[in-house]
């Protein structure tokens, strides 16, 4: 046991593997600081994570069950003279709520496969997934690992059972409606492809990478800049968002935003084309005319530009992505940001990481590990040991009761006890929905489109909804399906906020008449706390303890990146934030130790590499992927 202990001294201990924490970890490790990065979860990226379908089912179950009450252990033996002990919260129950799942597809394929065969494969898939997750996990205790694995297996089984119940709990509609459409299909359109069954989704579950947060990367946003600057971009591949859509008057329309889009647009008249292009070119620079509208709504400014309803809608909802009462200066800033990002990598301002957004925090973790950072998942920090005199955190006690000295401590906000959190504003929530559908909301020549869809409030007082539709070549869903993420600021529960939009844009048992719309096969609703209002410091915590907030509601990643940079600069004001990593051939390893990481990190690194190899192979099959660098 002793040999498996962690080193007892670090410069920085980081708790939580969300985006901000991971960037902080990479930044410190990169400039030679000794970093210990732990997460009590069995997966990376906290609420920024991406899951396989089966992984998500497990996550759903965990969040529906609520957290296990933890037993408070007595660590007083580890407290030294003049030290005070602060307990950290170890429950995540506050950040995810109102989880609801609906399965709208049939349980199994009717003809294709024999029942015993399917079950077998399903189990196989679940098992494989459990192994994979376990392999990603760093656990020093082999016994513990075994038990964990068993637990996951049982959890998987339980998850499946839960799913079977889900439709029936919601009412009889799904089952009652199922036969009708399928019968109609087989009669009228025998050639039409069969609906993918739930069994198939589970079987192909590993092809899914379902993000908990739905964001896009602005191509000139701070995250892309950071990825390029730090060379972390080499660990990931990216795809362009191929089109911006909007939902208007019951129709999904393409928003012409680039020059090529405007040229090709069929719904704009030539005069509108000119007006739009002129507005887009002219708003890049600030003018007296614009300043006169400061404080007044952007909508008013747009109205006075005599653009017409079409263009006004596009500009307000899809390009600026603001609401009708957003002030002009804010609307213009947002429009400019959109325009600034256009054309760097393609016809839209956005990129999406292949394999999902959960890749990004992991890429930064990898950079941290390459420069010696040590990683432990399913490993937490339970207490801080604070020097009473200086009010500084001297050491932490980890979940295995080891005392670890550190100069700085960075943690995800969910570990901060409610009693110590200083919150100025009431916690806001995000409403999220994840759908697996059978076709695109706007079919086009290519079935491999990545689309951002802006959905203005469907009624006064309702939230504006942002929707991202991912195709299978983004490696986030199985071929033949689309993965649709809906996000908005919560007004009510996720289901209350988002199901009206889902029912109007998709075909579900609640909206069976929408025959031309894509069918929803499966969907998930949940709320996630938006803690982005939280300050990095100023809580009832020692002065060298920094708090990172979880995902925010914005489309981009600026908040997390700024927060990470702020923390880094606060601790090491003289150092460069994430300087470019050297090329692998320029790194000299110590003669006696060829591994790039410390001994303790080796096992984990080894695992990481096999995973990487697998990904590389898979990625070679992916077409049109982008590396961020060629342009540079």
């Amino acid at each position: 046991m002793a040999a498996e202990d962690l080193p007892s001294e670090f410069d920085v201990v980081i708790l939580g593997t969300g985006l901000a924490e991971s960037v902080v970890a990479a930044a410190f490790s990169r400039v030679g600081q000794r970093v210990l990065h732990v997460d009590r979860r069995s997966y990376y990226a906290a609420n920024w994570a991406s899951f396989t379908f089966n992984g998500l089912l497990t996550w759903i179950q965990e969040n529906q069950e609520g957290s296990h009450p933890e037993e408070a252990q007595d660590w007083s033996s580890l407290v030294e003279e003049g030290e005070e002990l602060i307990r950290l919260s170890n429950s995540d129950s506050t950040s995810i709520s109102n989880v609801q799942v609906f399965t709208y597809t049939s349980e199994e394929d009717e003809e294709e496969e024999e029942a015993p065969n399917t079950t077998e494969e399903e189990t196989g898939g679940a098992e494989g997934d459990a192994v994979k997750e376990a392999s990603e996990t760093e656990s020093a205790d082999s016994k513990e690992e075994e038990t964990e694995e068993k637990q996951e297996e049982t959890a998987e089984g339980g998850g499946g059972g839960e799913e079977e119940q889900a439709p029936s709990t919601e009412g009889e509609e799904p089952e009652a409606d199922q036969p009708a459409p399928s019968a109609a299909q087989s009669q009228s359109e025998p050639a039409k492809k069969k609906k993918i069954s739930y069994t198939k989704l589970v079987k192909e579950g590993r092809r899914f990478n379902i993000d908990l947060v739905s964001k896009l990367m602005y191509s000139r946003g701070s995250l892309v800049d950071l990825l390029i600057k730090s060379n972390v971009s080499r660990y990931a591949e990216f795809k362009n968002v191929t089109r911006i859509l909007t939902y208007r008057n019951g129709q999904v329309e393409q928003v012409p935003c680039s020059r090529a889009d405007v040229f090709a647009s069929r719904q704009l008249s030539v005069v509108e084309k000119r007006k739009l292009m002129r507005f887009l070119t002219s708003c890049v620079e600030e003018t007296e005319e614009q300043r006169a509208y400061n404080g007044r709504p952007y909508l008013e400014f747009l109205r006075d530009q005599q653009l017409g309803d079409n263009l006004q809608h596009f500009l307000l909802h899809s390009i600026a992505m603001v609401t009708e009462d957003t002030p002009t200066e804010e609307g213009l800033a947002s429009t400019r940001n959109f325009l600034r990002c256009l054309g760097r990598y393609g016809n839209t301002p956005f990129l999406f990481p292949v394999y999902g957004l959960g890749e990004i925090p992991q890429c930064f973790c990898r950079m941290c590990a390459v420069f010696g950072g040590i990683y432990c998942l399913r490993h937490s920090v339970t207490c801080l040991l604070v020097d009473k005199e200086s009010n500084r955190c001297k050491a932490v006690i980890d979940s295995r009761g080891q005392r670890i000295t550190c100069s700085h401590f960075v943690m995800e906000d969910s570990y901060v006890g409610v009693d110590r959190k200083k919150v100025d504003t009431p916690t806001r929530f995000l409403s999220r929905a994840v759908l697996i559908t059978d076709s695109s909301v706007l079919p086009s020549d290519s079935d491999q489109q990545v689309s951002l869809v802006t959905v203005p409030p469907i009624a006064a007082g309702r939230p504006a909804v942002r929707m991202v539709e991912l195709c299978s070549s983004s490696m986030t869903c199985m071929p033949g399906t689309y993965l649709v993420h809906l996000t908005c600021q919560s007004v009510g529960s996720a289901h209350e906020d988002l199901s009206p939009v889902v029912n109007s844009m998709f075909r579900t048992p609640e909206s069976p008449d929408q025959e031309t719309r894509p069918s929803v096969l499966w969907c998930l609703y949940f709320n996630m706390a938006d803690s982005s209002g939280l300050e990095v410091q100023g809580h009832d915590l020692p002065s060298n303890v920094y708090v990172c907030s979880g995902p925010d509601a914005a489309l981009g990643h600026d908040h997390a990146v700024k927060q990470a940079e702020f923390i880094f600069q606060k601790i090491l004001p003289e150092e460069d934030f994430c300087p470019p990593a050297p090329n692998p051939e320029d790194i000299i390893y110590d003669g006696d130790n060829p591994s790039p990481t410390a001994t303790e990190g080796e096992a984990e690194e080894g695992e990481g590499e096999t995973k990487e190899e697998k990904e590389v192979q898979e990625q070679e099959e992916v077409q049109e992927e982008q590396s961020l660098h060629p342009e540079e």
């Binding site: 030679g32 020059r259 040229f263 030539v270 005069v271 050297p582």
Partner: protein, 583 residues
Amino acid sequence: MHGRVKIKSTAQQEEEKRKEREKKLKIYVAARDACFSKRKEGIFDDEALQLTQQLLSSNPDFATLWNYRREILMHLETVKDEDEVQKIYEAELSFLESCLKVNPKSYGSWHHRCWVSARLPRPDWARELSLCDRCLSLDDRNFHCWDYRRMVVKVSGVPVDQELSFTDRLIGSNFSNYSSWHYRSTLLPLLHPESPEPPSPRREPPQTSPPPSPQTHSHRVCEEQLLKEYELVQNAFFTDPNDQSAWFYYRWLLGRAEREEMISCVYVSRDEERVAVAFSRPVNAQSVGLLLVLDGQPQRVEWRSVHPRFKHSPVWICDLPPGTIGDITNEHNLTVHWTEKHTHRDCALYTGRAESWCRDSATDQELFRSELSVEKTSVLQSELQSCNQLLELEPLNKWCLLTIILLMRALDPLGYEKETLAHFQTLREVDSMRSAYYSDLCSKFMIENTILKMEYAEVRVFSISDKNLTTLCHLDQLLLVTHINLSSNQLQRLPPQFAMLQCLEVLEADDNIIESLEGVYHLPKLEELLLKNNKISTVADLQPLASCPKLKHLDLRGNPVTQTPDVESALAELLPSVTDLLL
């Protein structure tokens, strides 16, 4: 420290790089020398193929090596069977692909690829097309690739409609692409040719039997397709009115009728016993088989252009043998045959007449309108409307202004004269770099309008004073003019073409900035020349006037030349015929 990552210093890196470079250079030079000596010895073996490949992959612009490689390949063709040759050439193609990755604009690589493709026993054109597509998606203006692609399309017989949709795709992704628009302009006439009957009824010269001259309509497109193209290109220039490529394509769409080749005028003067012939385009009359028949008798005459500077000219003159038509009581019939073009023109000189001519007037031919376009008025009218709509949004866009001017000219040159002038004024202001171009163009249009007015009035007086003319053109249309007034313009010279005004008697050109009188040359009837307030500075500048036998009245007041000492005696010597000299 244990396990820490150490990074090589920049000095270390530099040193390593330098060594690397040195090593590379050594290898390169050695391989190059080996290649040269092998070639000298006439060795065409696999090793040579390897060596050249090694060199060319690092430097694909080494033309000598490509040549050597071709020699080797041609040699291999003679010793290997077809399957082996196919394999060798396929390997060559994939090698070339790697060269193109190094430099996608290497002349050598593309040329070699062309060569290989042509020799490949079983070529795979689909593969070549997809290679071009990839190259063009990286750089849609790579002209090497465009050239190669045209070759592939031609040889493999890709259907025209497929090529048209290819341009659709490229234009859709970026319409600032001359290559695509131009390619379109070559495809459309093949795919949607214009229906055979002419778009607007035009009077054929009655005497010529009408075999439809192919060049008149050859690259025209049928109206239905044209309307679609207008829509497409309008989308482009409304989206970005500053992009030239769309406007140029639009100009092409609006079209330009090619004038029929013909003799447009025959003029005969009894006094000078001289014939002048005007053609629809500049020709070299000495080599086109021009035959003059007078009263049924072919004449042996010497054709000359109006000015020794012109080998090609729209106007040619010849002197008849003395005494042939001098008698005013005789009637004569002349025919000028342009044997090369199977066309001719007759002219009768009646008793008692000193001169005679036969011609098509500019108004009859709609000459200046059709120079811009042969489209139907309704189409042009709606195009003008769209452009005016754009102008309302972009009042200072030069491309829009210029296109509007051209459309107006095609529709009704005289009716739109005022608007045209105003637009030209705006153009000169918004695009001052090209103000001289606009002035010249404006001069051209003003001259055209004046010619039209003159012909409607059926007079031989051409008056265009105070119109800011900066240049003279269409002078071949003024062959019959006797009086010309160019006063108060911005003319700097009377160019050699001015010598085409064979009937000119009076020339008023006061208040210009004329420095050169080169074109006042052998004007047989010129009597009066008014050049008050110009920039003629030396007596030598007046030299051309000595060739005008009838010049009597010359006004040079307000010219620097008048300040020359002894100017009067010098002029008296130079121009003895001038009796009325104002200095």
